[in-house]
Amino acid sequence: MTQSIPAVEYLVLGDDPHLQAHECQQCGALYLDRRNACAKCSATTFGSRRLSNEGVLRAFTIVQRGAKSGPFTSAVVELNGGGVVKANLLGVTDPAQIHPELKVRLATFPAGTDDDGTVAVAFGYEPVGA
């Protein structure tokens, strides 16, 4: 059976892929990366919190020239119930298809295979109803 590994640690794979954030135990601020202390309140204890797989697109750009050849669409998504994440908007490269309050849902995809055959799995967002 093919082994898989999340492209980033805050992506949890399995039957129900989702994002998991570090949550400040004092103020509830959410972080996708490891922090030594909370950037909002300076507390040092963190727990884990599952983030919603659905949210609203708040910003985007369609990259044509960059480190990775385009076009691809980068998006900032405000997740329902808390958390803001940046990822690609999958299957959309026409700005006319993007409108205010566009609802999106998390989707996963393979992003490479290492020499042991392990597949890295990344995530992005798809418009809901697309």
Partner: protein, 400 residues
Amino acid sequence: MSDNVWIIGTSMTNFGRFPDLDLLDLASTATLDALADSGQSMTDVGLLALGNVYEANSHNGQRLQKQIGQTGIPVYNVVNACATGATAVRVAMMGIKAGECDVALAVGVEKMGKMGMLGGAARKAAEKTVFTPKGRYGSVVKTEGLLGTGLMPGVFAQAGTEYALANGVTAEQFARVAVKNHLHSTLNPLAQYQKEFSLEEVMSAEVISYPNTLPMCCPTGDGAAAVVLVSDAKLKTLDPDVRRRAVKISASVMTSDPWTEGGQSQPDVNTLTRLAADQAYEIAGIGPEDLDLVELHDCFATAELIHYDNLRLCAPGGAGEFIDSGAPMRDGKTPVNVSGGLLSKGHPIGATGIANLYEVATHLRGEAGARQIDGAKVGLTHVIGLASACAVHVLEAPAA
């Protein structure tokens, strides 16, 4: 006694690409010209702050001294992304305000040449055999382009579309910013580019990161700028001709990012700019309606448009209407980037936060030549560097 700080000398080199000049040639030229403009010499200067990004580990302040005068004074080499030059000015000001000196010199210099997109150069892939989580995100693959983009064109494009989705701004309104700044640059002999573009040319140019096309992105380049600052007490001792041309720094504010939820995933270029602007207006005792000109940080056309709102130049949410109205044109209500801005004047990173002071001070002195904003009395400068430092200065013309 007031504790005002004054600009008594300022200069900038041409911005552009100068393969025959090294970093110290550029810094020396700007510094010596600023000193000559101020009527001072290196022996009068009590502190030197030098801003530079890409050669910041080379102690360039001391290297500059070896070209123009080693006098034993304290030297502070500073780096703060695109706010590096402004940071050097802040250090020089703080030296004066702390009473450590009464004449201070701030210099910003950068030599970038044709670097291409920052962070966009292809990197040689490391031999990778087994995926292993690395860094604070536990990444096993490079995430740029895979999980969105964090390169500057994309960051500022997304900052722009966030504003556009919330306020109904169009791609054409963003493009009008570039049309304006390229037009303004045709009057500035110091600008890297001095070429006019039509709206159609801007909009049909190569898309770099939508909605920004190539002429909506600032170039890399070389250049330097310098200011000579003095205390109130020192100014009173100087020649009448120096005093007559002295420009008051009515506010000098620097901010960094306060915590925001969205700012953890995508740089929030708005909040710290708003904080800096509001503090600067309060300290200077003026409002945005009092500004005769503004030099703001238009690293991309999308950035300029949202900073109209962040700097309170327009009604909340009204930046699109503001550009359509012609208000930021050089003959408009609040001229913005009459130098051509970063988009056309250029953006040698370390120099930018002093070059904008040069521009505004030159107008306030009535010495800006063909691009002079007639009767300019109050101006504002703004820079932002990720991630993140913002500086806002308010300058006032000397009393007539």
